[in-house]
Assembly symmetry: C3
Homo-oligomer: 351 residues x 3
C-alpha cells in the first residue's frame, strides 16, 4: 500500500460499491459484498486488493495473480484464476482510475486562510478555501469556493479562479481567468508578457501585451510550465486539456478541449491546436500554424506547417509519421554495409 | 480594448502627438488634432482607434479597415480607405509598439516596501522602489532607484540591481550584477552554480563556481529561465538582449548585445554568441563554440561547431540553412514513390 | 580572485597541505612550505596562486604560465617553467576541484531558524540547520542535522531530509525521502503528481499517483528541474547522480548511481538509466526503456528503444553514434554538387 506518511486511504468498500462508482459490472453477483481494502498491481495484489488488466502483454501475470478482485475486459474473463472476483469493463484503466480515486482521494490543505497569507482587502475568497502561508493575493482577485492555493503562490490583481480549483505552491498567475476544478501544479507561471518585440539592430522595442489567459474547466497544468498572455487576443486552454511539466505556451496560442501536451513541448505564438490532439514530449511548434483535432505528433518533432485533423506526424520538419519512419529506415540503410544496396555499391565505387 | 481588470489605458491623444512619440509622419496635417483613444488590430479597430499594417498579406484587411488611423509604409498609402488617417513610417510595427506603450504603459507596483518583505539591514534600497510581500533581500544588496521586486522573490547577498529594473514574483538572484531598465519575469533563477564536476566513475567532485552573472541594461529575461554563474570568468548577457521563457544558459556563456533567444533554448558552458544573433525555439548549442554576430539559427537546431557571422543555420548537427532544406527535400524524395527516381527503382528491385 | 561581494576565501595554505588534501604529490619537497593564497587559471595565475593543466591543448599556456604552483600529470612535468612548483596527479582537474573547495568552501546560511519561517509544530529540525525566511514546513517533516533550506521553499507533510543537505530558495518538495549531502538548487519541484491519465475523447480521468521520490546521498539537482513521484512504485535517483537545470523526470523513472544528466533532458515514465550513464543536453527518452550502465547519449538525441551498457548513441531516433555520424555525412554528401556522386548524377538525370 501507499506510504502512510504521504497518503491516506479511504475505508474498505464492497466490490458492488466499487463496480458502481467505476462503471464496471460485477461478473458474479455472489461477490457483491466482498470487501476490498486497497488497489495494487497484478503482481503484488493480495486477497483484499483490486487490480486491473489493461495491456494484453500482462495476461500471463493476470492468470497467476493473487488479487482478490480484478477489472478486466469481458474477453479476458476466461483467463482469470478461479478464486479471482471480476469487474468487467470495456476500459479497465479508466475504471481502475475511478476506484483508485476512491481509495486515495485528493486531500486538500486544511480549510482556512493562513494568518501568514497576504490578501488584499478587495479580494474575494469563496467558502471552504485553503490558502497556505506566504500566499500573496492582489486587488479584486476573485477566488471561488473550495479552492486550494499552495504556499508562497502569488495571484496578481484582477485574476478570477473558479470553484474547486487547486493551485500548487510557488505559482504566479496574472491577467487570467481560471475555470473550475482546474489543477495547477507547483511553479507554474501564467499570464506574463509574451515575447513580443519590434526587432531592430539598434534595439528591440517591447510591444505591450494586452490580452489575457483563459483556462477552461478541468484543465491540468504541470510543474514549471509557462503560459504567456495574449497580445490583444487571448491565450486559451480548452476544457479538460492536460499539460505536463516545463511546457512553454506562447501568446495567442489557442488549444482545444481534451488535448494532451507532454512535457517540455514548446508552442510558438498564435498557433492553434484542435480538440484531443496529442503532442509528445519536447515537440516544438512554429507560430501561426494549425494542428487539427485529434492529430498526434511524435516526441521531439518540429512542426512548421499545418497538420490535418487526425493525422500522425513526426520528425523535424515534421512529415506524416509513415514517411518519417521510411526516411529513418532509408537513412539507416544508406549507411549499412550489411544492407549493401546497389546504390551503395555505386557510391563506394571510384567515381 | 484591453480588459479593464488587468490594464489601465492612458488618456486619448491627438494623432499629431502619437506621430511625435512614435517617430511616424502624419500624412495629412489637417488631421493633426484628431483624437485617438486606443490601439486595435485592423479588423477590429473603429473610428477612434489606431492600427498598423506591417505584413503585406494583410493589405486586403487594410483596404477595408474601419480604423480611424493607421500606421503604414508610404508605399501602401494609396491602398488606404478614404476616411482613414495615415501615419507614415518605414517601420510601422516599431511605431505601433511606441504608441501601444503610450496607451498601456507599464504600471509598477505601488511604491513602497511591504511590511511583509524581509530586508537585511545592510541592504540599500533606492528611492521610489516597490518591494512586494514575501521578498527576501540579503546582506549588502544594492537596489537602484525606481525598481520593482515581485512577491516572494529572493535577492541573495551582495547582488546589485540598476535603476528602474523590474523583477517579477518568485525569482532568485545571487552572484549577479544587474543593469538598468532590465525586465526579469517570474520564476527566473540567476547566479546558481554552473554544472561543473570533475567526473569519475567512483563519484563526481564538485568544482567551485567562482564567477558571477553580469546582465546589461535593457535585457529582458523570460519566465522560468535559468542563468548559471561563471566558473571564474563571468556569465555575461549583453545590453538589450531579449531572452524568452525556460531558457538554459550555462556557466561562462557570453551573449552580445541585442540578441534574441527564443524559448527553451539551451546554451552549454563557455559558448559565445555575437551581437544581434537570433536563436529559434529549442535550439541547443554545444559548449565552447562561437555563434557570429547576426547569425540566425532555425528552431530546434543543434549546433556543435562555430557559425559564421550573418549566417543562417538549421538542423542537427546544424548546417547552412539552404543545405538543411536540401537535405530535407532529398530525404523526402528518397522515400516517395511518386517521385520515383532511378535510385529508388534500383533500391526496390531484388538485389 | 573571486569577487569578495560573493565569495569568501579561506586562509593561505602551504603546498604540502594542498597536496595532502587533494591527493596530489609534491614534485619537490623543498617547496613544501611555500604559501599559496588562491586558485587561478593558467593565464592569470601569479606567484602565490595554484593553477592546473588538464587539457593537452593548453600545454603552451602552461609553458609560459607565471603560476606559483600547478597541478599536472607527471608526463608534463618537463614542460613546466623553471620557477613553477609542481603538484603531480593523474587527475589534475579532480585535484584542482579539491583545492578550490578548500579555498572557497560552501558558506552555509547563518545557522538558526528565521522567525519568518512557518514550521509546523510536529516537524523535527535537526541541530545546526539554517532555515531562511518564508520557508514553509509541513507536518511530521524530518530535517536532519546541518541542513540549509533557502528562502520561500516549501517542504510538504511527511518529507524526510538527510543530514547536511542543502535546498535552495523557492523549491517545493513533497512525497519524498531525500538523502544526505544532497544539493538541490533553486526552483526545483520534487514529488508532484506524474502525468497519469486514463485517456478518452470525452475526458481524461486522472490516475492517483501513489508512489514517492527517493533521492540518494550526494545527488545534485539543478535549478528549475522537476521530478514527479511514482505511480505506486517510486521514482528513484541513485547516489551521486548529478542533474542539471530544467530537466524533466517522469513517474517511476529509476536512475542509477553517478549518472550525469545535462540540462533540459526529458525522461518519460518508467524508464531506467544505469549507473554512470551520461545524457547530453536536451536528450529525450521515451517511457519504459532501459539505458545501460555507462551509456552515453549525444545532446538532443531522441531515444525510443533500449541502449546497451557502455554504448554511445545519437540522433532521433537514436542509433549508435558512429552510424549517426555516417548518416550525417551521407546526407551531407547527397546534397553537395561538389561531391557529385554517381547517385546524384542519376538522380538529376531526366527520369
Amino acid at each position: 500500500m501507499a506510504d502512510v506518511r504521504f497518503f491516506t486511504r479511504s475505508a474498505p468498500q464492497t466490490i458492488q460499491a466499487l463496480a458502481s462508482l467505476s462503471g464496471a459490472m460485477l461478473a458474479d453477483e455472489c461477490h457483491a459484498d466482498y470487501l476490498i481494502v486497497d488497489v495494487a498491481p497484478l503482481d503484488r495484489a493480495g486477497e483484499s486488493e483490486v487490480s486491473f488488466l489493461d495491456n494484453p502483454k500482462y495476461v500471463e501475470l493476470f492468470r497467476t495473480s493473487r488479487a482478490g478482485a480484478c477489472i478486466v475486459k469481458p474477453k479476458y474473463a476466461g483467463d482469470a484464476p478461479a478464486a479471482m472476483r471480476l469487474l468487467l469493463s470495456d476500459d479497465p484503466y479508466r475504471a481502475y482510475a475511478r476506484i483508485a480515486q476512491y481509495f486515495y482521494p485528493y486531500i486538500p490543505l486544511e480549510e482556512g486562510i493562513s494568518p501568514n497569507a497576504h490578501i488584499d482587502a478587495s479580494a474575494h475568497i469563496g467558502e471552504g478555501c485553503a490558502i497556505a502561508a506566504g500566499v500573496v493575493i492582489g486587488k479584486h482577485v476573485m477566488v471561488g469556493k473550495g479552492c486550494t492555493i499552495g504556499a508562497n503562490s502569488v495571484i496578481h490583481d484582477g485574476v478570477t479562479i473558479g470553484d474547486n480549483t487547486r493551485i500548487g505552491a510557488l505559482c504566479s498567475i496574472s491577467h487570467a481567468q481560471i475555470g473550475e476544478r482546474v489543477i495547477i501544479h507547483r511553479g507554474v507561471h501564467i499570464g506574463q508578457d509574451g515575447f513580443g518585440f519590434a526587432l531592430a539592430r539598434e534595439g528591440h522595442v517591447k510591444v505591450p501585451q494586452l490580452g489575457r489567459v483563459m483556462i477552461g474547466d478541468e484543465v491540468e497544468i504541470g510543474a514549471g510550465t509557462c503560459i504567456d498572455r495574449g497580445t490583444g487576443p487571448d491565450t486559451v486552454i480548452g476544457e479538460g486539456t492536460k499539460i505536463d511539466n516545463l511546457v512553454q505556451i506562447g501568446h495567442n496560442v489557442v488549444i482545444g478541449k481534451h488535448a494532451v501536451i507532454v512535457s517540455q513541448v514548446g508552442i510558438a505564438g498564435s498557433t492553434r491546436i484542435g480538440d484531443g490532439a496529442v503532442l509528445g514530449g519536447q515537440v516544438g511548434l512554429a507560430g501561426h500554424i494549425r494542428i487539427g483535432a485529434g492529430a498526434r505528433l511524435a516526441a521531439q518533432s518540429g512542426v512548421i506547417a499545418d497538420v490535418p485533423a487526425g493525422a500522425s506526424y513526426g520528425g523535424t520538419p515534421a512529415v506524416p509519421i509513415k514517411d518519417w519512419h521510411r526516411q529513418t529506415v532509408t537513412l539507416a540503410r544508406l549507411i549499412k554495409p550489411k544492407h549493401h544496396t546497389h546504390f551503395e555499391a555505386v557510391e563506394e565505387a571510384p567515381v
